[in-house]
Amino acid sequence: MKIPIYLDNNATTPMDPRVLEAMLPYFTDIFGNAASRNHEFGWEAEAAVEGARETIARAIGADPKEIVFTSGATESDNLAIKGVAHMYRPKGDHIITVTTEHKAVIDTCKALERDGFRVTYLPVDKEGFVELDRLREAITDKTILVSVMHGNNEIGTLQDIKSIGAICREHGVLFHTDATQTIGKVPFNVEEMNVDLASFTGHKMYGPKGCGALYVRKRKPRVRLVAQMDGGGHERGMRSGTLNVPGIVGFGKALELAMAEMEQDIAHARTLRDKLWTKLKESLDELYINGPDPLEKNEQRLPGNLNVSFAYVEGEAMMMGIRDIAVSSGSACTSASLEPSYILKALGVGEDLAHTSIRFGIGRFTTEEEIDYTLNQVIEAVNKLREMSPLYEMAKLGIDLKSVEWAHH
């Protein structure tokens, strides 16, 4: 077993060696510009890009012409939301999204609000699910786009996007989903799920960083976008810029592997995640799952994702106690903004518990040995830190921490 252990696969994944192998020739031998139409170098590069496009399209039930390559999911989210907003402005100025979306969606919507658009941020229930009736009620005749992510990066909630897509279709509103955490990880099909636009990226599925895609529906309905970058008119005019040929080849290979191995990847990630959660609960008290409980709603949570609040133990201190293990925390101390996670807040998790949350992300290359090691380390760290925690002592003495008058600073 190699130390440190990587358990942050919702942030990024290591590249599969088979992906690297597929990419290598495209850095040196086949280095042409895919837009060079007049020589062999360009043709070879173009053929590689079109092969990857075909693979990626097929994986999500789309046509190759519906795939636009970008630099990653953030760019795809921006292109989808701003592109639709600016194209359909004559039709309406209202967008609906959700409070637990990724910043790439939330901040894009905030930017549109500054441009005069109106945005509704739907609340979620305590497990992170959007209530379908609330969505129905929020749609008006000015609504042009609904954007709801498929799988949540922090809490693993898998939205019922098939039903959400159906509601949008019924009301004639375009539906975008940020599927960064799910494509290649769980079944996803643009036809079955009534999706009009979908963002995703290579590096969450054992592919390279810096290469993503946006699915843009071509028929029934045909979605039109205003490009967000001016230039040579690549990608059918939707995204100018020389294509990242090695990245695209790697992205295609990564998704090809993910589709071929999805069943075993899911089983592997679920088995290890469920073991981690079960054993933690057996060994420690006062643990709170954030998002749907995998032991009750396995199908509604990302397979390798576990997010737990270890009450009375601050997240950054915990991460310091398990320094050999790479995880992430919703604690303010670990975020750039110095605010605890807005996603946990949206679930109604109190700030006190948000500060104690740790996200574990299990992936294709995580081993059972690593999970066993993690269990020991986490249990030891929590016990040690609780021994040191005045809050744990007070709670054990039966003091209601909510009744204490704290000196806020």
């Binding site: 601050e314 106690g321 704290w406 600073h409």
Partner: protein, 136 residues
């Protein structure tokens, strides 16, 4: 973010973790911070009423590694000092001695506040125990 060696040392080997009897009139307890803010420090001092010397200090902290290190270090700093010397300790000393980065300065402020709050509590208790006498 990398932690300084001193912070790591105090985190791994915290000094004076524990609880003193809060009802003892020679024990002052300072509880500062709030769970919603991600830091709560409890510092307890056992003070000799005759000499005013801090004979023992214990802490428990909910907070990041720097908060734990700041409180652990504070107990080391004040043990053996008298009340006036302890009350004069500034957070900047903790920042300097532990090499705390700017985002962690609030941890040292909390430690200073905890010392002051514990001394306050001790003085209040002494005044109640010996209403007629001046308190050390």
């Amino acid at each position: 973010m990398a932690y300084s060696e001193k912070v790591i040392d105090h985190y791994n080997n915290p000094r004076n973790v524990g609880t003193l009897d809060p009802n003892d009139s020679t024990v002052g307890t300072g509880l500062v911070g709030a769970p919603e803010c991600g830091d709560v420090m409890r510092l307890q001092l056992k003070i000799n009423p005759e000499t005013g010397v801090i004979e023992d200090a214990k802490f428990k902290t909910f907070g990041c590694g720097s908060a734990i290190a700041s409180s652990s270090y504070a107990t080391e700093l004040i043990k053996g000092k008298n009340v006036e010397e302890a009350a004069a300790i500034k957070n900047t000393q903790i920042v300097a001695d532990l090499n705390l980065p700017p985002v962690k300065i609030h941890c040292s402020v909390l430690a200073e506040d905890a010392i002051k709050a514990a001394i306050e509590d001790y003085k209040k208790k002494q005044a109640q125990a010996h209403p007629a006498e001046a308190v050390a």
